[in-house]
């Protein structure tokens, strides 16, 4: 960045600093002012415009451009969490993440919080077995929030570790390295009166360098491959496809009758039994897997997904 640009950038921040108090009170509400002078919440994400899950745990929204306004960007740390709604559901959480908000001790227990739609459900196909995690909207590593019910939603293991965690790491490591700030907003997306969010929108923008290093706007799917979720209640079950496969495999192999041959949609995949991801045999990740974690599988893609495996983001099988 040139010196001129730096100076221009600093001048840009002067009015922002004057708005710090306002921002600390209003968080990332942004948008236009309502008649009573308070800020309106940003326009909610239109989930009908989001493509159905097709293998990637997150997809860009608005070409990765967050919807922050210039007034919202502040190089002074703050964090805000929405009150729970009448159904006990979380709303938008926002922070200007700086090193002063980051944890100085290990995370405490959050097990007392029961987010909307919470169920303690286990499946063998899920990493760690528990389908649901208490997902921090703003991760503990960013703002050190422990058992804050306004910051915890019912999220799948897949949402937590494959969808949200990579972005939290991205932000945390940038802030630690540069001592700069990242304006960060996470919005759970509930459809109708559902108690479990369909997904979360995550937006981030590095403040001091005006998005040069950190800039994203994504939707992360609250799904778990192989598990069917009723988002209205949080009830879940193994997907029908997998049930049928289990029945099929429990039948005697040869009872004299001729089994009908399956359609020839079978494809060879390589499963990583450790990461629970599946790959094309030609994927470069396969060559780097240990033998103990490698399993070959020939079948339909849906079958692999129903076994709890997620497609590799690299080879996109």
């Amino acid at each position: 960045m040139s010196v001129d640009r730096k100076i221009r950038g600093m001048r840009r921040w002067i009015p922002v600093y004057l708005l710090i108090l306002f921002l600390a009170l209003s968080g990332c509400a942004g948008g236009e002012e309502k008649e009573d002078g308070s800020a309106q919440a940003p326009k909610p994400l239109d989930i009908s415009a989001i493509a159905p899950y097709s293998g990637s745990p997150y997809v860009p929204v608005n070409d990765n451009e967050p919807a922050f306004t210039a007034e919202e960007l502040t190089a002074v740390s703050f964090e805000t969490y929405s009150d729970l709604d009448a159904l006990g559901r979380c709303g938008e959480a926002c922070a200007s993440v700086g090193t002063d908000l980051m944890p100085t001790e290990k995370r405490g227990s959050i097990s007392k919080v029961k987010p909307s739609g919470w169920h303690s459900t286990e499946y063998d196909t899920v990493e760690g077995k528990s389908l649901y995690n208490r997902c921090h909207l703003i991760g503990y590593q960013l703002t050190a929030e422990n058992a804050n019910e306004k910051n915890l939603i019912t999220g799948t293991r897949y949402l937590n570790t494959e969808g949200m965690l990579p972005f939290e790491n991205l932000v945390a490591d940038y802030v630690k390295e540069t001592k700069n700030h990242v304006l960060y907003r996470v919005t759970p997306i509930f459809e109708g009166d559902n108690l479990v969010a369909s997904g979360v929108q995550m937006e981030g923008m590095s403040v001091e360098d005006e998005g040069e290093e950190i800039l994203f706007n994504v939707y992360c799917y609250n799904i778990q491959p192989g598990i069917s979720i009723d988002y209205a209640t949080g009830e879940s079950k193994v997907e029908e496809k997998q049930k049928n496969d289990e029945k099929e495999s429990s039948r005697p192999e040869d009872n004299g009758s001729r089994k009908e041959e399956k359609p020839s949609a079978a494809v060879s995949y390589i499963l990583n039994t450790n990461t629970k991801k599946f790959h094309k045999p030609s994927c470069t990740s396969v060559k780097q897997m240990t033998e103990a974690n490698t399993r070959e599988y020939t079948g339909e893609r849906e079958e692999v997904v129903s076994m709890g495996y997620a497609p590799c983001g690299r080879c996109r099988p």
Binding site: N64, K176, S285
Partner: protein, 138 residues
Amino acid sequence: MILIAVVDDDYGMMFNRRRQSKDGALRERILSLAEGGTLWVSPYTYRQFSDCGAGNIRTDEEFLRKAGPGEYCFAEEALAAPFADKIEKIILFRWNRKYPADVWFDLDLKADGWKLSETKEFPGSSHEKITEEVYVRG
């Protein structure tokens, strides 16, 4: 050329035209590796090194094509596979973290016959542990 790259747990390198992460200790390590030689980088990568005062850094959009034998290339966003034949050695750093990615390291280390010859770990300035792996032709 000697290729240097940094990857996350899934061999990711970039997301939304931005590097996944950066680390001052890693920059120092890269500079020390290339000390006495030439370090080629893209203009994008050079922004990381612009304040370091190193006189051996050469910048070019086509740095992978222009680098000669024995010269170091730090590729953050550039894909190396088209230049695989001229790579003599690969120094692969690992963040040991998972970040979002839409650009991945594109060399197939095992299939192309690369052999891991050396591994070491060091603490980063903001990353708990960075792993350095050296691959040579098998």
